[in-house]
Each structure stands twice: as C-alpha cells, then as structure tokens.
Symmetry: D3
Subunit: 185 residues, 6 copies
C-alpha cells in the first residue's frame, strides 16, 4: 500500500471516488491512500450515499482535507465499512493530540456539537473506496480552524492521518499472518 | 446481533475463543458480543497468536474485563482484523471518558507507558471471533484501577463497551444498505 | 430482514429490480422483501434475463402479485439463485393450501399445464435481488383466479408468501449459527 | 455434478458427513449426491448440530434413505443452508406424488404431525456438505411405510430425489449464466 | 466448461470482452472458451486496460487468433489474473512445439524480441473474462507467420490452444476435489 | 510477498505444508515462497492428496529442490490451484533454459517420459499453500542431474525459480490495479 500526499491544492467534486482514479492521476498500481487539500462540491451524479441524493443534500465546503483510500483485495461491502469506521477513529486519534473533546458517531466526527467531517464508502466490481473530508474552515460546521489547527499544522495533520492509516493497514496485514485458526466447541 | 452481559464472574482460559462457545454457553443463535469479568490464564494449547505460543508467553491476569465477539457472516481474516482494530478504538473511546491519556497501538491500549489490554482475532471454517481483555487490577501492567475506574463504574464500563460495539455494528449494517456502487474512471 | 406489504396498487416495469429500489421507496436499511399487487410490463432495457431480451419477449400481465427480495450479505450469484429456487418452492407450498396440483420447474410454477409465474434473479456490486410475479388473472397463462384464489384471499396469500420467506430466512440464519464444521476423511 | 446410487445397504454413522467421503468411497472427483439405504446411528463425535450434541440426542433409525451432497464450489455457510432448504423442498415435492399431506418446516418434513426426516449441513475448509435422511420404517416417527411407499417404490423414490436435485443444480448453473447484472437506483 | 471454435472469420473490436457475449452469440450456458480468427481493432470505449486507454494506444492487427474465456464461478480479480497468466503459459507451450524460442513476460509472449500477443482480463458483477490475441501476420510485431506457422497449422494451433485450456481447467477442478485441508503449525 | 532461500539443507517430511510453517521457521509475516534443498519423505499423516493417501503411495526422494508457497489473501481452492499450475509452468520455463524437452501435464513435469516433480496445493481456514519438489538426483524418476543441471547451477535454479514466482506475483498484483470492470452485453 502506498501513501501519497499531493502538494498542490485539488478540489473534490465526487468523481475522485470512482475506482481507478488514483491510477489515472498518479499511475499508482498498489492499494493507496491519497491525501490533499482543496474545496469540496459534490455533484449530484457522483453522490454515493442515496440518502444524500434523495434529499438533494449539498456536500459543500470551501476548504477541506481530503483522503481517498482504495483497496483492491476484496469488494466486500462489510470490509470497506469496517475500514471506514476504523479510519474515522484514526482521524479522531490524530486530531485529539490537538483538541481534547472530539466525538465520533459512526463515520462522523463532531466538535462543540458541530459536524466536522464527511465520509462515504462503497465498492465497484474491481475495488473498494473511501472518501473522508475534514473542514479546514467553515462558517456553520466544525473545522480545524475552530480546533486551533492552523498554518503548517494543517499540512502536518494531513500527513499524520494518511501515514497512520498506512501503518495500521500494514500492521493488520502482518498480524493476520501469525494467527492460528480457531478451535470449535 | 446480541449483546449479553454475564452477571457472574467467569474465568477466561482461552477455550472461550473457540467457535460456537457462545451457543454452547447461552444458546444464542445470532452474532454476539458476550462480556464478563474474571481472571485470565490462557493455556498454551489455546493460544491463537503463534508469536505468544513460540515465546511461551504467559497471558495471565487475576482480574479482567473480557469481551468475546463472534460473527458468522464471513470467515475473511481481513474483516475480523479490521473489526478487532475498530473494537480496540471503541474501548479507547469509552475509557477516555474516564481517563484522558490512552494510547492505541494496533490492538493494544496503553496508559502511562504500560500495556492495559490483550487481544486476539481469528477464524474457523464457520465463524470469526475476537477476544479482548482489559486489566481491572494488575501489579505490573496498566489497569482500570490505575485509571481510577473502580467500584460500580467497572460494571458500567463493561456494559458501555459491549453496547457501543453492538450499536456500531448495527449502524454499519444499515449504512451499507443505502450506498450506490462506485463509478469507474 | 424486513417484510413490507404495500397497501396500494403498484405497477412493475422492471426498474424495481434495481439495487436500492427498496431504500429509495420506503427508506428500509435492512435486507427486505417487498410485496405488492399491480400490473406487470417489463421494458426491454430492464430485462435481466438475456434470453428474454434476445427473443424480445413480452413480460406482461394486467394483474399480478409481486415480490421483490433484496439481500446485501453477499453478491454471490450461486446464493441468489439458490434463494430464488427456495422462494419458488415456498410460493408453491403456500398456494398448495388452496390448490392441489401445482408443478414447480426451476423458478417457474405451472397449473393445468400453464405457466403461473415469472421470476428473475441477479446481482449488482452492492446487492442481490429476486423478482417473483404471480398472475392474479390472465387470459392465456395460469392465474390465482383459475385456482379459485379470489377476493380477500388474494391479499392473504400475498402476505403469507412474504412472511413465509422472512421466517425461512431467519430460521436459516439461526441454524447456521449452531453447526460445527465438518471433519475430513 | 454426479449422481450416484449405491445398490447395497450402507449404514450411516455420521462419519459420512466428512469432506471427501465420496472421493474415498467411489473416487468421484466432482460435486456429488450419493444416495443409499441403511440404518442410521450417529455417534456423538460426528454430531454437527451442536444442539443435538448438547442434548445428547440420539439420531437413530433402523432403516432410512440417505442422501449425501458435497459441493466444492464455495465454503459459504449461507449457500449450503439455502441448498439444504431447497433440497428439503425437493424431497417434499417428490414424496407428495405419493402422499398428499406433507408439511415442511425448515429442513424437516412432517406427516401426520410426526417428524419424517433428519438433516444437517455444514462446511470444512475444502467443501460444503448436506446429509438428509428419511425414515423408511419407524415405530415412533413418520416413515415412508406409513405413507404407503413400500417395496420397489422405495428405491424409485431414492433415485427420483437424487436425480431431481442433480437436475435442479444443473438448471441453476445454466440460468445464472444468462443473467445481466442489476442496475442501481 | 465448453470449448467452441468458430469456423468463420470474426473481427474483434473489444465489445467481445463484455460479460455474456458468448451467450448472446451462441447461446452457451456454461463457462466457455471461444476461439476464432479475425482482425483486431479495439475501440477506445472498450479498452479495459486503463494504461492503454490513457496512452490512447492502438490495439490493431489485421489478422489474429482470438480466445475469449468466460468463467461464472467467481468474480475474484486475483483468480482471473492467475488464470490469464496460466493461459499465456499454455499458449507458449503449444506454440513451442513449432518454434523453439518463445519468451513469456507476464501476459505477453515475445519472439525475436518482438511482442507476439495482446491480452486483458477483468470482471463484471456476473463473470470474469480473458481476451488473448496472437498475431497471425504483422508488419512490426511478432507473428505466427514469422514462426513458420502457416496454412492449416494455424487452425490446428487455434484448436490445440483452446482445447488445452479446457483440459487444464477440467483437470484442476478434479484435483481440488481430492485434497484434504492443511494442518496448522 | 517475500522470497526466502534457505542456505542449509532441510528435509521435507510433509509437515512443512502446514499453515504458518514459514512464520514458525523464520518469523516472516508476509505471503512467502521459501526455497531449500533436502530429502523428501512424506509421512502418511501429512499427505494432503487423498489419492496418494488411499494408495499408500510413497513420496520419497533423497535429494530435491523444495518450494513452499503461502498466501493469506484468500482461502479459495480454485485460486491456489490456478497458482499451482502457473508455478509449474514457471518451473518449466526456468528449467527449459537448461534442457530443451520438458513436458508439463497439470502440476507435473516430465523429462524423457519420466516424472521429474511432485506437488500439492490446499487451504486451511487461514491460508493457502503449495509444495513443489524437483528431484536433484533419482534412480527411477527424472532429475536435474539427468538434465545436466549440476553443481552451482542447482542453487542458481533454486533461486531463479523462487524469484520468478515472486516477480510474477508482484506483476499480477500490479496489473489487476489498472483494469476497468467489464461491460455487459
């Protein structure tokens, strides 16, 4: 698995959740997490969560940290959802080094009673993907700015989160290669 | 999925990680999390982690909170390991309401630089299982006692953790039933 | 799994076989069987069975009982086809309480040498689905009317079939949670 | 898939549910259904259903028709249970040509309020298997004898059931090879 | 699995890699390998290999042997890629009876330092497919003509390759039905 | 995936086919191919191929090259058999640089009408494994010695084969990460 941090700003419009986006962008031929900063404005045709689509929800933010994870080892929906929740917990752990009162509810993080993040996970016939976005600044929702995470720290947080997921993935892959199967009653 | 809290003390000797233990004990015919309090003394023949077995490690504690999770929906090792890590994060979240400085490293939790927990996950041909144990008291390792979690709060924590995993599982199962498949570049 | 009976007439045009139709219609976030009564007129672009599509078959009936089953636990074609055949057998069992000579051939039921039903099963990247339709009245094919199933009994049969499948599914899920793995010669 | 009818009597003691029993017996290297007649006396160590094992149930009959199905195409518990229920429905369909009032409840058949059959299904790491037994005669439970199925008809029924499952399996395998994937809402 | 040799010329434009093409063409309801001879001109919208698509590569040849393999037993990408590489090795083995110095590199064959073949593999929600093409003649790339394979031998080679894969597949399916599961350390 | 060449002689007695043998031996926590030279004497209780076990076959050689492959990414029998056949073809390709007339039949290689190799593949609940052995010398069967592969070349061949499989595996994993899913007719 590779961890790739984009140096330039890149806006998320929902098409980046498509399978093989990472290969198309940077020719990566491995499972990957791509992290970048940019606006978020998901067009209705790219909405994966049917609840958002039905409600015509806007998923909009002028400045976010984005993480795009793609795994090719399985197309099991249960696995990608477990990974999404684990990723959400990892984000919470990294941010909690900077802000003491973050609440996780499923794939959402909250500060001061306000939603800080957006996320979606799904599969195609060839891969599973997760998008996770964190507001850098926002008028109504929670943001890194409100948590006192500003300046260079924003970029550090981007990198720490991506590298933490990579490390967690590698660690799990190693652990499952030393476990004996279960006995049965 | 069912969440079952055992009222009486119950010692963990490693045989409880076997598939179908929950059915044998309480006739549950659902995915389950069983939570209880008791000593921990894993016999070598029940060691699932080959690293422990090779090293002849003792997994021993006189008083622990135990959680035994069993899922029958898949025997995919990757899925049970993702769930194990997610469970570890959930334990950390619940305990952090009582103690502010818990570190997670994979499937381990640490306080004051000392290991607080033990955990293992694996599969048989019919189910996947996780064991997770938290020291209530301990001379050398970290413990709930050291975190100031004592008396009735111990039982509350046992219940909160088990119910939090149940709620998380139900929430994931619901979320994956409203997501459209991914497009492809 | 949830069983939902629609009170109002609802016509089947083939788009209802799409994944997530049930969520879109009634916000259900569980495996489901949705049962309703209405006409059937499948447009060519919604034909899943390529044999029908190649032959330009009409799948048309002015009045049918419809059952739409969706499972998210697997996208295995073999599993959805086994479930489709089992559902067909269940329909036969329920109807045989009212009419003594029903023949099942795969996913089709016949009375008096005439085809009584239509059915299809398939998968997308996120779910597996089955459609099953039973003629209430028909000029050329077999129908409930011809079997003497009329008036309120039609609605009762709609409900009994849907509830029988739900009960069968729950029962299977329970049974597989108390079976030890096989030995090997 | 092959259908093999054993001409000689053969007693079922539970070891026949083991994976690869068919290969060991008759060198078959295909999915198979093996049908034979003989006594049934399942030893406790071969009990797959933990409910029977816990209760120390006797699974005993002096004369039964036995069917042993083995599939190597998947080790999914859900699939083998769906196939087991479908097989049970097929048995009911074949027997109903001889006796008009058979009730199916899951993997059990009943006549005159008495249990006629026994069945179990499970998986190993290499195959999935089903055992299904029908009493030919019995003092307390239902039997073919009680249904008027005697003499040569017993052997005919043995063959018809086995061949019906084979035909159903072949038919499903063919049907799933002409179905387009589902659209998504 | 069926092996079908088309007698007439048939041009490959990339649409033949679609799932269910074989059923549409010749009504086959089995896993299949279809072999034929014809030109190759893959339109951009049918390019499965995103590398080719990104580079706007032409996949063009006036005369090729084509093999289209479709399996419905799994939609696992890893399996179809292992089968593709095995097929490539089989092609090399058959051709090496006519030409002594063939190099295989992944899914490509080379003679005299020139690429002889093209291939792609992928999955949909219902099947996995492989296309493999061998130049019969070519101005710049390697070809059967250059290997001295001309006249009737071309047709013989077409048939031998297709029949060899069929035989290999049948042999693997048989072998996996006599293997005991592994012990564990 | 890691490729490990053992410098010292190591005898194969069949226990090395057990899951997690590589971890136990060299602490590797990755998919692996372990290559070594030594005698071969498989005890009956370690025979995975039931045909050998039934026939009481001896699998014996005083000097062999051994390859033990373990993958944890799937426990699909079809996948491990496809990989075993591919590995056999790779061995043939490497050896054909030294000897011009090698025949492959499934998982066996032959020279001068004599069997040169032994192989088995299977799965446990946690991994899939392949053993492949090549006679270095032998009185009755084919051997490297007979092919003129002697001295240092034996060790070179050991390494080349192992490294070729590693390279093939890495190449497949990369290729499947740039392929779009199939369209459907």
């Amino acid at each position: 698995m590779e961890c790739i941090i984009l140096d330039d700003l890149f806006d998320y419009d929902g098409s980046q959740i498509s399978s093989l986006w990472a290969y198309n962008l940077v020719d990566v031929q491995a499972d990957s997490i791509i992290a970048f900063r940019g606006a978020c404005d998901v067009r209705i045709e790219h909405m994966i969560d049917l609840e958002d689509k039905k409600q015509g929800d806007m998923i909009f933010s002028t400045d976010m940290l984005h993480f795009i994870i793609e795994h090719f080892d399985s197309t099991d929906l249960k696995l990608v959802y477990a990974r999404q929740r684990l990723f959400t917990a990892i984000v919470s752990e990294v941010l909690s080094l900077h802000f003491s009162d973050i609440k996780r509810a499923g794939d959402d993080l909250f500060i001061n009673g306000k939603k800080l993040t957006v996320s979606i996970a799904s599969t195609s016939a060839v891969s599973q993907k997760i998008h996770f976005g964190i507001n850098v600044t926002h008028d109504h929702y929670g943001s890194l700015d409100e948590m006192g995470i500003t300046g260079d720290v924003v970029g550090n947080v981007l990198r720490e989160i991506a590298e933490s997921y990579l490390a967690e993935f590698i660690d799990m892959e190693k652990d499952l290669r030393k476990s004996r199967p279960l006995d049965v009653i």
